[in-house]
Symmetry: C2
Subunit: 334 residues, 2 copies
DNA sequence: TTGTAGGCGTTATCAG
DNA sequence: CTGATAACGCCTACAA
């Protein structure tokens, strides 16, 4: 691989001059610039980003840490951030945290060791304190789907509680009063908030909260099937099922179908997230929209603004969920 | 951030010695090693991967280039490779090529400029020649889902033609003879091969190939709906629809549902890929399994073996598709 | 406008 | 077993 040195020799100028034309800073006469460009072309020269990064302490890359690399939700997250950053000629380095503290720490270390200029984090296990600590170390971070009080400005989050509220409220609006709930893991903040919203909606409608109608899943499809199975095994009847995310909802739907439970007539189901295939389920899943892609783009914009000094960017930290009505919720006739 | 120099001072040894204990190479007495370790601990020292990479010409990271960061197929691809590599303490740097030549080139350049030790590529636009050229430049590459004759050893590919054949053959086996086909873009090798398989199956069963029963889609859901709509608008009847991938199949299914076309009775549908939610569609989609995740793991294994000299790894270059029977194909009664 | 030289944090080759 | 010291490829004052 040709280096800046080779170029300088071929062009008959100094290293510094070549560097100047590469970075378009400093003043270089048009004539020499042309010579250098020609030499670069001829040698097929590509700047070594590693060396640039070491020398300038800038890498033009931002690190992204998410729990998993697969799955519709995180796919959109990555994709949104990457698009926005690519437009600004920045790059992303992505790694998975696998929802485990050690693993998330390791992921962050990896990103830092790569000299990322900033980090976009979707964490499950790491504590707020750790984030605050990290932030103090000087590396700009933006946290997605989490509200850390002392890091407000750096958080891009959804009002999960309102989303949970909307979901259950929709069931109530359609005449349901016996409502089961498949929750996410209670150590995840978003799962907790959604569940709070559910309870709030019940309370507002003067519906008793019945612990037997709750199943604790893990946000994965299978726990949706398991959940519905478990709930049906109890003697308590219900006409509606609220799921803390779409993946569990799809699992529950699959279980229902296998057991000839008519949807949405026997059980109305609602999900959360509005993942890409929710409209392709049968019946098409009514759900709460989670604008991840936009939020990821906003996270990117925040970094562009704060770290790369791009002007004219409006930042919104809080996003709102919204009900997406499709066919999986039936109106209950008395 | 503490550097190796700070550590050496605190431990009262030389730079070289610290480097030795970091890399566990060279001989260091247990006593000095302990001192160094203590100093590292005390300073919270983390090696700077960038500097290591520059000095050693090794980055312990492998680059992955895929068309899109979202979508079920590529999600599994990333995820498979990342898992395998992470187990071996290597990291991945992922970027998107967006199926455009310029963009794919830029992606590769980015990965190279990051000093990746090897590349895993899923390309759409770039030519075989470019790959051969790239390979000659000295960077180890492995190509997924593509067979490049002169790079055989570095290709991990699926027998797409057989897959396409299996799909249509299953339809024929279930008594169908009027079979429509929604193809992928004809500039994608895999789409072409699948289509070839389709034609081969028809021919084998002495079924005339009817151009009007073909629609050319783009592998996205919407083109599945469009495709079915288009096919139905023709006067030619058909009882079966073969789709070149699951996403288009799900689009077609959605269209059918909206127009009260009974599935699978009025039209039997089969897909290709066996993406994660295909079993959650209604009716559950019969499809051809594409073991992407395993293939990605194999790609990673190949790199571990060739680039990082990991021993005892068996490499398989060609993978085979297989039929996954679910509910979307009905047996045709005469 | 251009060149010189020191430095970014490590690794690796020599001697000792 | 340990310590100098020269790379690695580039950036950036500072000088000229």
């Amino acid at each position: 691989m040709a280096t800046i040195y080779d170029v300088s020799v071929l062009a008959g100028v100094s290293l510094a001059t070549v560097s100047r034309v590469i970075n378009k800073n400093g003043n270089v006469s048009e004539k020499t610039a042309k010579k250098v460009l020609a030499a670069m072309e001829q040698l097929g020269y590509r700047p070594n980003a590693i060396a640039q990064s070491l020398a300038s302490n800038r890498s033009n890359s931002v690190g992204i840490l998410i729990p998993e690399l697969c799955g519709p939700f995180f796919g959109n997250l990555m994709s949104g951030a990457e698009k926005r950053l690519r437009d600004a000629n920045k790059h992303v380095i992505i790694t998975a945290g696998h929802s485990k503290e050690e693993s998330e720490k390791a992921g962050i270390d990896f990103l830092l060791s790569r000299n990322c200029d900033a980090l976009i984090l979707h964490l499950d296990a790491l504590s707020d304190e750790y984030l605050v600590e990290l932030s103090k170390r000087g590396i700009p971070i933006v946290v997605i789907n989490r509200f850390v009080p002392s890091l407000q400005e750096n958080c891009i989050y959804l009002d999960n509680m309102t989303g949970g509220y909307q979901a259950t409220k929709e069931m109530i609006a359609q005449g349901h009063r016996d409502i089961a709930y498949i929750a996410g893991p209670d150590w995840k903040e978003d799962a907790k908030a959604r569940f709070e919203g559910h309870k709030k909606a019940l309370q507002e409608a003067n519906i008793d909260f019945i612990p037997e109608l709750i199943y604790k899943g893990d946000f994965k499809q299978e726990s949706g099937s398991d959940g519905l199975k478990h709930l049906l095994s109890k003697a308590i009847e219900f006409t509606a099922l609220v799921c803390a995310n779409d993946e569990m909802a799809s699992g529950a739907m699959a279980f229902a179908r296998e057991h000839d439970i008519g949807l949405p007539d026997a059980i109305s189901i609602i999900g959360f997230d509005n993942i890409v295939y929710s409209s392709y389920l049968f019946p098409a899943l009514t759900t709460i929209n989670y604008p991840v892609e936009e939020m990821a783009k906003m996270a990117a914009a925040l970094i562009l603004k704060e770290v790369y000094q791009v002007k004219g960017l409006k930042i919104t930290n809080e996003f709102y969920p919204s009900l997406v009505r499709r066919q999986s919720v039936a109106t209950l006739k008395n």
